[in-house]
Amino acid sequence: MNILTRVINLPGLKRKAHASRQAEGVLIALAVITLFASLRYDAFLSEYNIMTFLAYNSMFILIGLGMCFVIMTGGIDLSVGSVVALSSVVVAKVSEYGIEVALPVGILVGVTTGTINALVITRLKIVPFIATLAMMLGARGMALVISGNQSVDVSWESNFTQFGLGKMFDFIPWPVVTMLLAFAFCWLLLEKFAFGRHVLAIGGNEEASKLMGLEVNRTLFGVYVLSGALAGLSGVMLASGFGAGQPLEGLGWELSAIAAVVVGGTLLTGGLGSITSTLLGAILLGLIFNILNFENGLGTISFSAYWQSIIRGGFLLVVVVIQAKMMNRKKAH
């Protein structure tokens, strides 16, 4: 027995430490950038900027959270951007019945596409990348067909637009409240419920999870449906916060979501991940746009759209290279 216990204190991967260090890393980056921006730009920390920034980015955070779960299983969901568009279109069509109807309908749209994704992945055994790539095309096509190729009017008479434009206590925009609730839900799901454990287990080793008797398919189902549902919810925000169902919106959102998850330190190979860092990652990426807008406002340099994309790409490069260096160094110790 002494022999056995002697070897147990080997250096190894410490998940908790890893995740929290990652969160710390993103948090520090976020703090530094915020500090820089608040010193440089006058109105950066104004209530107006903070609230509109958060409200707009809530949509991205939602799909980022869903994406985080999917990626933790070792999968990917390329369809979320299109699903947001589809949901926004469908929701706009029912907006006259008020948010009480529209909200569940929007989520249902996402649940449906998520279910189809899950069926294709678990039943037809087609890898997530391909299954959701097809859904990316399919949902976009559906959105255009349903909307008749143009953005769809929402009702301004019902309480529908209140959801996207109104504020709780006249202070926090409802999208932000919704996003925070979704965040709390996802956090609990991952950290406190067996479901989250199974998600991580499957991402860690799907074969083993199967052999250990986990209902792998059921968990995968849950994950893709969750991702779909959050995209659907994001679509509701899009329709109600911008006053239209938009079949062409959401292009490339899946890539921003993936980037947010990765910047948050979640491994694309699955098995490890953090909800908190995903939230922070999404905010960090959104902040770049905000800062570029403020920078242009200073009038000293005006970044064209082209320079903006170069800067965004460059920022992503810096983040992932630093991250990679940290990871590789950790391995060396």
Binding site: Q150, V154, N290, N293
Partner: protein, 299 residues
Amino acid sequence: DLPTLEKKDRYKVGFAQTESNNPWRIAETKSFKETAKTCNWDLVYTDAAGSAAKQVSDVDSMIAQGVDVIFLPPREERPLLPAVLRAKAQGIPVFLVDRSVDEKVAKPGRDYVTFLGSNFIEQGQIAAKWLIEKTGGKGMILELEGTTGSSPANDRRKGFDDEIAKHPEMKILASQSGDFARDKGRKVTETLLQTYPNANVIYAHNDEMAIGAIQALEAAGKQPGKDVLIVSVDGTRDALQAIIDGKMGVTVESSPFFGPLACSTMKRYANGEKIEHWVRVKDRVFTIDNAAKYIDEAY
């Protein structure tokens, strides 16, 4: 109850461009940037990269920065409403440029100052009328649509199609999207020409696609301008050259040079003048008669 604009020497002006991926938009941005110098503006320029949602967020960041006035070419009619309403609520006058927003919810003179721009439907109509006159009301038409779902595509289609529908001997054989892009316009034309060899007119929603169509025709051994008549909208330099070369029939101008108009309209507003609800841009029609004259003005 519109927000007023005080008279100042120098204004902080927001210009929230929708995207910069085609010559027309680039020319529009350039026009605003040049006007900023001549009209004494501090320009706050943003680019929404084709996303209506981001454009709203861009406007929000301008509001946060406390601009005096916002020029907004809304990417789409409806999704930009919240931005217009929020700017108004923060006391910032908004001028819509080149596209309008849904009049049911936001009205000029109440929620925003005015709309500066052309009439996309009318552009389609003008193109159709020219065509009808030229062909005597006969023609087999292929239509190259703009980006599916975008308002110029929808309007230019509506204006054109409605006019054509009045003439029984004109028929739109096929109508497909070429995404406002030369390459896609070429590919779609190549395919449609195979299926409809009898087509003798091509109506493109913008000049880039029209140029693509010319290339497709030439590759298929047909003579653009003779075998197939080409009608388009925009008035780019390449299109005017094509008209001069006899490859294209007409292009209806859709001018991107809004800067000077923006400057003068804003000055009028600051002076307390009442602004009409639609500051119309006079769109010219370029044909073989005047193309050579205007080609140096084109972008």
